[in-house]
Symmetry: C2
Subunit: 440 residues, 2 copies
């Protein structure tokens, strides 16, 4: 075995690490044979000096090989995995899984929990009483084959190197590195043998990547990894300069998803989910995107998407009547306060991350891994950039445990919104697409 310090020294000096040596380093770290402080020095050197495409691929391969992989061989439909890099009011996955299932595709989604200002799909689903996400991989596979979709917690033996390394990056200020993020995101996607990986790379004030350019760089690094692996993937760089939907919480998001899946809600969340469904149909079945969008719209409007959601909820032990009247089933917050506009004007910008953090502080999210979340807490905020609002207009609601916390959250939401006398255009929903097919 090589001295791991030699690997660290190469990166420290801005040199490339040979593939085999980087692989050995990562696998040794996963087995705890390389100490945290040595890996921390490596991560900082990699953060500052960067990792080239072949280093990033070698690192990602080693991360996948640190654990088991999931073959999903028992699923007969075309398999699509969809992942978001994280945003505010970003329930695309919650809506996409049943929508795609209703269109004949298979979605086996292994998900992490929410951390920081972004919500987690598991936390949202678990707001439905009785619903389990601790499925075995056999249960996931059987459920997907039967109902078309499943959303379950990622098991700890899938890419264990990523869990250890992410915690170390969090502790050592080395999170926000494109190659390290790409390796972390893609290792979990590549460990599942699906036919298509769809990535939603968020850009803007509510995302990790603050500009579309940064998000595009990350998306390109992820596509490069998929290409190096011989896997089909598509990535959209999408707007996160404002919350995508209206609900920022858990039960609130489920209620929003139910309404949307039943055809009762328009807007950017529906639009983006339909785009992803059309992209999946185009990639997997060669269906023209316009035709795919039409079919997705139809699946929403004729109730088949909502029915797929009900089947998934029931299969995972939840009460499927949540798709009838959600608030008969979902937990409600004791305090609901309206958010009212203090001034009038055109919405020109939002600090979406601040709105996410306000919701976390209400109890809807967690600051530390393992913290419990309050399923009932959260924020509903309706305005979008470009909207004109009037003084006193109701803009949404805060759902909280007590008045003081709810009032503080309402203030934070109002303060996170910038108004102007002049109208502005809404930002584009999708900044662009990248893929393994056409790009090099």
């Amino acid at each position: 075995v090589n001295d791991p310090r030699d690997i660290v020294a190469l990166k420290r000096d801005g040199l490339a690490i040979p593939e085999a040596e980087l692989r050995e380093f990562v696998l040794a770290y996963a087995k705890r044979e390389v100490r945290d402080e040595v890996a921390a020095a490596f991560l900082m050197a990699a953060y500052i000096r960067g990792l080239d495409a072949s280093e990033t691929l070698a690192m990602t391969k080693a991360m996948v090989d640190s654990g088991r992989t999931v073959a999903l061989g028992g699923i007969s439909r075309p398999k699509v995995d969809k992942h978001s890099t994280g945003g505010v009011a970003d329930s695309v996955t919650l809506v996409f899984a049943p929508l795609a299932a209703s269109l004949g595709l298979a979605v086996a989604k292994l998900s992490g929990r929410g951390l920081g200002h972004t919500g987690g799909t598991l936390d949202k689903l678990e707001a439905i009483p009785g619903l389990r996400t601790d499925l075995t991989s056999e249960e996931v596979e059987a459920q997907v084959e039967r109902v078309g979709c499943a959303v379950a917690a990622q098991s700890p033996d899938l890419v264990p190197a990523d869990g250890a390394m992410y915690a170390l990056r969090d502790a050592t200020a080395t999170v926000s590195s494109v190659p390290l993020i790409a390796a972390s995101v893609m290792s979990k996607k590549l460990a599942m043998e699906t036919d298509l990986i769809l990535l939603d790379v968020k850009a803007g004030s509510g995302a990790f990547m603050k500009t579309p350019e940064q998000a595009r760089t990350l998306a390109a690094a992820c596509m490069e990894l998929a290409r190096g692996w011989g896997r089909r993937a598509r990535a959209a760089v999408t707007d996160m300069s404002q919350p995508l939907g209206e609900a920022v919480g858990n039960a609130l998001d489920v209620a929003e998803a139910v309404e949307l899946l039943g055809g009762g809600r328009r807007g950017r969340l529906r639009e983006l989910t339909v785009l992803f469904a059309a992209e999946a149909m185009a990639s997997l079945e060669g269906i023209d995107r316009a035709e795919g969008s039409k079919r997705a719209e139809r699946a929403i409007d004729d109730g088949s998407a909502l029915e797929a959601f009900a089947r998934m909820v029931e299969a995972q032990g939840g009460d499927p009547s949540v798709t009838g009247d959600p608030w008969k089933v979902l937990p409600k917050a004791p305090v609901v306060l309206p958010i009212e506009a203090g001034e009038s004007g055109f919405v020109t910008a939002m600090e979406a991350e601040e709105i996410g953090r306000a919701s976390v502080d209400l109890g809807a999210g967690r600051l530390r891994k393992g913290d419990p979340v309050d399923p009932a807490a959260g924020i509903v905020f309706e305005p979008k950039i470009g909207d004109e609002i009037e003084t006193g207009q109701k803009l949404g609601e805060v759902h909280g445990r007590d008045e003081d916390a709810a009032r503080a959250a309402a203030w934070r939401v109002i303060a996170a919104v910038t108004l102007s006398d002049r109208p502005v255009d809404p930002p584009p929903l999708v900044h662009g697409w990248l893929g393994t097919d056409e790009e090099r």
Copy 2:
């Protein structure tokens, strides 16, 4: 208390860390309140991005304040501390301490042990049977007041942050950074309240700094720290492109020192020691350097330097008759092999570090902290760059435990020497001096 990651992130992004925050980080690390992996990330960021003069000073101050300081108030003579950054056949400290004592100065030298290819003064002195280096600071002070010099092991409560941080740097490939080395070297000097700090910064194949320019940069960083502290210091950048003296071991070095201190040996080791003694007299007593050199030469030639050495050895429990016939007292190796020239020519270069490592592998040094050393083992090598040697000429001796090891060491020494048909000039002994007085 701040989140230590914020400090790490500043340096990661190439920004300066405010003095108070860097101080808090270092003190918290010394108390183990900042974890090793976080400090490792900081060290790597500092290695790559650098630390400016005020950051280096703040870090050094915090390192000193992590432990106790030594006032040496009971010593009435002018107090000088002398430190070498480490080289091969570098016994200047061993010779300088009694020489300076014989000239009326006080030398209280707290020293570390040898590590890697460079020897340690403690290990050398301990080759003298009975000699103790584990003196308390009270014992050191009393001995220096009485006999003028003492060489003792650094106690663990002196600059504890440095011990922890040096081990971490060694583990994380972050040793060779000028500001980190300067902080480490100078924190230990500044923790002792002496009147003058003399630094011997080695440059060349047997030193950490391979070029005089690199060594000068390190020397300047150290002088900047002394200046920031308000302490008088002088640094020489000296030649380490070849072993300084002839002995590379422990007992062998003591025998060489005894011969030199008694006036029986000329050469670069004597020249450099005399220069440091003259520098100390110039700085502390305003004595002209030429006159100081004359006095130092006289102290060697009239036996007073050797007498000071005998008094120091006796005060520390060793047998002072080592100054009469060293080899009646010092341990001898079972095998002594001559080193013979295989070719003729002019010596043009030496891999001095390789000669040091050959001696370490004979048992004279240690690869890991805490390893024992063989006091009898080592190498004597006489030629210097510029010398002409003949095929078959005896160039020195290997002292070892067995024939095979000794033969291998002899080969390594021969292979470390480059010969040429054309004569070359010897390298300068001193590349230059820097000081807190004249420079800014």
